[in-house]
């Protein structure tokens, strides 16, 4: 049993883990060049924007759980926070659908079964 049981998982480190993973997913999802010409809307730009939103959203979820676990939120605050994030999750699914982008195209958080083609 390790003697020095300081908090083994510093939240900041796991946040950085999240950020690193999500950013690599952004890198993976990007083409070399994106033309933002409104005459020809490219999926590339939508992909970039949506992927960056997903990075922030995942971090928000993580922080929300941390606040809830920290015990300094009232029941109403927890509900309001959770509802906002739930709606954000649903909205992101709609956005991805509208641009024809799947989770696999953007942020990769694949369960080992059933989510890979």
């Amino acid at each position: 049993m390790p003697e020095d049981h300081e908090p083994a998982f510093d939240v900041d480190e796991s946040l950085r883990n999240d950020l690193a993973t999500q950013l690599a997913a952004v890198a993976r999802a990007l083409p070399d060049r994106i033309n933002a010409d409104p005459e020809r809307v490219e999926q590339g730009l939508a992909r970039l924007v949506l992927t960056l939103i997903e990075v922030v959203r995942k971090v928000l979820e993580h922080q929300a759980v941390r606040r809830m676990d920290g015990g300094d939120l009232s029941a109403e605050e927890v509900e309001r926070l959770g509802l906002t994030l739930l709606r954000l999750d649903e909205r992101m699914q709609q956005m991805k659908g509208a641009f024809g982008l799947t989770d696999e195209d953007l942020q990769i958080d694949l369960g080992p079964l059933g989510r890979l083609r």
């Binding site: 300081e6 950020l19 993973t21 950013l23 890198a27 070399d32 990769i108």
Partner: protein, 68 residues
């Protein structure tokens, strides 16, 4: 045999994903955003990624000290 994982398939697949998708060097991560032929933004995500990884490593090494 004790210690062998009986049903290896989900384990092996999860490990494949954890390894190949989330580890390994990141080189591509620079995107140029242009309007028409005019380059306006160069976004280099690998700089941010490298910075995060470096901080994580520094923290890990500090935490573990010389006891590796």
């Amino acid at each position: 045999m004790p210690g062998d994982v009986v049903d290896n398939a989900p384990l092996e697949l999860a490990d494949l994903i954890n390894r190949v998708l989330d580890k390994g060097a990141v080189i591509a991560g620079s995107v140029t955003i242009s309007v028409g032929d005019i380059d306006l933004i160069q976004l280099d995500l690998t700089l941010v990624l490298t910075a995060i990884e470096t901080v994580r490593t520094a923290e890990r090494r500090r935490r573990e000290g010389g006891d590796r």
